[in-house]
Subunit: 211 residues, 2 copies
């Protein structure tokens, strides 16, 4: 059970990395997160990341072909953490809508602890162009997984998936308005709770509850 078996998360046809390469990748991601946590998107300067990670600039670009790729990968990394953390203490609400809202608010509070890091990651995510689509998609799938987990919908209907998509849209966009100082934390909370009402609307309605 060496480092090798752990490394096979990524779906794409990445040639497996040697141990030293895995270590380099990790140092880079850590350096990225650390610089981001200090000063947000702008503070993640490729030369500085390279230096902090003890790697040449060219190498950094071999691992992550652009700053946006790097930050999206950083987000993937952080989301993994969050997903495992969230799984440990599942939300307590009775209705799916409540549980999703609770989960997202928990994630939101985690982001509030490192607002600059959140800034860097979210800005990169929404600024990403087509060349980063696969990576952004991975982040999106992770987010979807977290929300579906909270809903407790193992076999979501297409309608429910639509609701989840809309929730994700709202989540990202609300984060942006918060990060750029155009919405308060309270406002974000309201938006999340509002959009989560869509879940009730799309629940498999044979179960009496809401009609």
């Amino acid at each position: 059970m060496t480092a090798e078996s752990r490394a096979d998360h990524r779906p794409s046809a990445t040639p497996p990395l040697t141990e030293r390469q895995e270590a380099r990748r990790r140092r880079i991601l850590d350096a990225s997160a650390q610089l981001a946590a200090r000063g947000g998107f702008d503070a993640v300067q490729m030369r500085e990341v390279a230096e902090a990670a003890g790697v040449a600039l060219g190498t950094l670009y071999r691992y992550f072909p652009s700053k946006v790729h790097l930050l999206v990968a950083t987000m993937q990394d952080q989301l993994q953490h969050m997903h495992t953390t969230l799984r440990k203490r599942p939300p307590g609400g009775a209705a799916p809508a409540e549980r999703v809202a609770e989960t997202l608010m928990r994630a939101f509070r985690a982001l509030q602890r490192e607002p600059q890091l959140a800034d860097a990651m979210v800005r990169a995510l929404t600024f990403a162009d087509r060349s980063v689509s696969p990576e952004v998609d991975t982040v999106s799938r992770l987010t979807t997984a977290i929300i579906l987990d909270a809903m407790g919908a193992a076999q979501p209907t297409p309608e429910q998936l639509s609701a989840v998509r809309v929730i994700e849209h709202t989540w990202h966009s609300a984060l942006i308005t918060w990060l750029s100082g155009r919405a308060s934390i309270a406002q974000v909370k309201i938006d999340i709770e509002t959009v989560c009402r869509l879940i009730d609307l799309t629940a498999p309605e044979r179960t009496a509850a809401r009609q």
Copy 2:
């Protein structure tokens, strides 16, 4: 009734512009839109905008303190157009939710005609940092106005305003997923229709009939 009285749209304490200045501003915005329409965000290069507008680089920066400011202003400009255009033929649906969805889809089709321009504007909008907040807020208010128009809610309740906020979030984020090729046009349509269901949910339901 010279050009002067027309110029007083902007709320901030902008000293009134002379006629030549108004003309410069217009040339800059037009050049920006034209370059954006060609090649999207990346094709809007400040030197090229300046040259196309027949203005020195320093002047461009006096009018718009950054590329993002410029593109957000371009978006304001385009939204004005759209708002007037949309007002001319109001949506035909019976229920507010239908009308809003119809209006947004109409706007979406307009954006599809110039996808590169849409790309430049939307990317700028979501990439904008705090220094652009006032301008982004103006765009947001314009969008809100368009949606409220379509709803026909002259006196929206706080709940309805929350729904509108969420609709806006979804609108922006769905546009981004479309622009970066991660969602199809059909998918965007579904997302818009899904989120518009929130309107029914928040309608002032004491007035039995849909009023």
